[in-house]
Point group: D2
Chain length 220, copies 4
């Protein structure tokens, strides 16, 4: 079994709660309240800033140039493209940049991002990628799950852009490259190490569940 | 103004929400549902483990023996006394050690603890102590605030032990020593540094608010 | 007094030993043995890899996008340009890339690079920049010192390219931008913090002295 | 093959250079110049301070109480006993505490200690223990090697105390416990991880060689 399959198998219930979360379902059906999506978008902006720090950490944790350059491309994508696109997307949803720059981080945002950063710091590069996986690989899986659901609405769904972004060939490639790195770093692990990574992946997944829930509950 | 006063003044509303939180009020009045207190106790056990890691980080971050020995005494208090006392206290409330060892961390627990660890790692020893302050110094203030409230019930209140612990001379000394260290590390800071620390203290305080709320809501 | 002036004033003797080191003098006079320069170039390659990790650390240590983007541009300069130019320069001096990829790090290389990384990790972003300063700002000063020495030979000196690189307008701008950041992060520091930074800067400078000495002694 | 055997096999030549270094031989024969031993003792004091930070790091890197408590006992041994004994031992050799507190760290001291701390931070708990192993396990092996050499002088050798300390039952137990932890953390590693650890162990061993050489050369 691949590492990623084994990580998901170690928390199948939590993984399902994450992938099929009510926030995701309502988004797919186009019934998610606008303010929930806006709240999610705002916190996701803060998330991306911490995510950029995680790529910085991955560079620090690298011990060869190939490994550094992989993290560099993740960082550059974030700082040169993703954050700008997110700011534009937020603007389309009526959230201006000034608002973004003065937002307090919700506890759920702090929980997932700092869990990644602290676990990645305490562990090694593999721990960092294992805790990032629910985000990078999970979003690709969520988009595919949504696309396969009969009650997902594409046309006229105000959230269809979001679904398309994570269904796109471009995003699939990002996820595929990350998956390959994960599998390379995580080949042939001894059992206790695998269990440790499963625990960390489960906690990271639970923090993602809590991030969706924050969107639904509008928690700050 | 002392650093601690200045940190509190930078988030007076959040600080009040923390000190006078409904969880605290109900605990003082003896009306807090038992399961809320038990949930808090369980998560507090997981909190103490991460708190011990924070003392380890403080040792790593020290650049002289005095500074290391201060953190060492915090660590030893935690690992040799506090955690054992907490396990015993949990047992008194019907929570056995095996349960404690298999608990998943609530998002609110992850949020505060990893915020401390990550901010302490990214910043210096002062940042670490500033983010620990809402916990170490806040609990002393909470106990004193409770003791001063007319509707606080002491006799017959099942939570009176908890109040007494944080009112005790012993705990006051712990808090006083921590306060002195904080003031020493934080004397005469330039304005931008003070603002940065105020932001970090505010976020840490907000994470403490979210920790109390988790107790009330029984969130996992 | 600016922070950088104050850091240099705190170790004027060590700073002079660094700027006016025999390795530097002989390089300026064109009398440095070729194998010493080659040894320096080889270790400098390993140095650049660790230096890239330091930019990754600076990204991790940033708490806003401006700060991250500054470190990102340092990182990109390193990974996209500097290391490639260094590999080419090494080739011109008869050192092929395969050799570079199998070099053991000399103790002096480990000493300076890991001092930067560990001090930067234990301290905050300012500590990181203070320990990088002897390298980034020192090389600009060395080139200018060399250019001002009557016994420096420019024409026909096999090391003139090296001198020109660090005398260039382009490098001056890199150093100037770094200096401005250092002064911004280090404005109005309280006395004990300044003394701590002076100690760290002095050790970093001493490690740079030891790096030159390694070149002269051909130590591995 | 056990991990430790495999680490040594990956750098048998460097390991021999370390265990059988001239500093060690001359110490065993009682011919080591007094000032070399004094210089070593002084730098070893600075080494112990950084070593204590490494135990703090091990606590931070722990994810359960057993693991924390092992590092705590290493830390307490250092701060409560070892450093005090070392100060006393230095005094016996004519080096007073005030001198110790004002020593600049030699490059070789910085190189080994910061290599441990940075590699331990970038990697996980196993990387930290692998880079500590040349020190903790190597000193036991050095004492045993010395005891087995025909030209080692015990009676009347001014350095016999040093040999006895690392030959003692007490020290053997420290080394044995560390070895068991190393083997537990390092069981059944995949090949690429083993090679990575071998590289790190080799560099750490080379830094130990450079530490002995600093003693012989009186380098600062």
């Amino acid at each position: 079994m691949s590492l990623f399959e084994s990580l998901k198998a170690g928390c199948s219930e939590e993984w399902r709660q994450y992938i099929e979360h009510d926030f995701v379902r309502q988004l797919g059906q186009g019934t998610l309240p606008k303010e929930c999506f806006q709240h999610y978008l705002k916190q996701d902006y803060l998330f991306l800033i911490q995510f950029s720090r995680a790529w910085g950490l991955a560079i620090y944790k690298s011990d060869d140039l190939d490994s550094m350059r992989y993290a560099q491309s993740g960082l550059n994508a974030m700082l040169d493209t993703e954050i700008g696109m997110h700011v534009q997307y937020c603007r389309d949803w009526g959230i201006d940049e000034k608002t973004l720059n003065h937002l307090p981080e919700a506890a759920a945002t702090v929980a997932y991002t700092r869990y990644v950063l602290d676990t990645g710091m305490a562990g090694d590069l593999l721990d960092l990628h294992v805790t990032l996986a629910p985000c990078i690989l999970g979003y690709a899986e969520i988009a595919q799950w949504l696309a396969a659901q009969p009650d997902t609405v594409r046309e006229g769904n105000p959230y269809n852009d979001w679904i398309e972004m994570y269904l796109s060939e471009e995003y699939r490639e990002v996820a595929q490259t990350e998956l390959e790195l994960l599998e390379k770093l995580g080949a042939d692990l001894p059992e206790p190490r695998l269990r440790q990574l499963q625990n960390r992946f489960r906690t990271a997944t639970r923090m993602e569940v809590s991030f969706w829930q924050m969107g639904l509950d509008l928690t700050e």
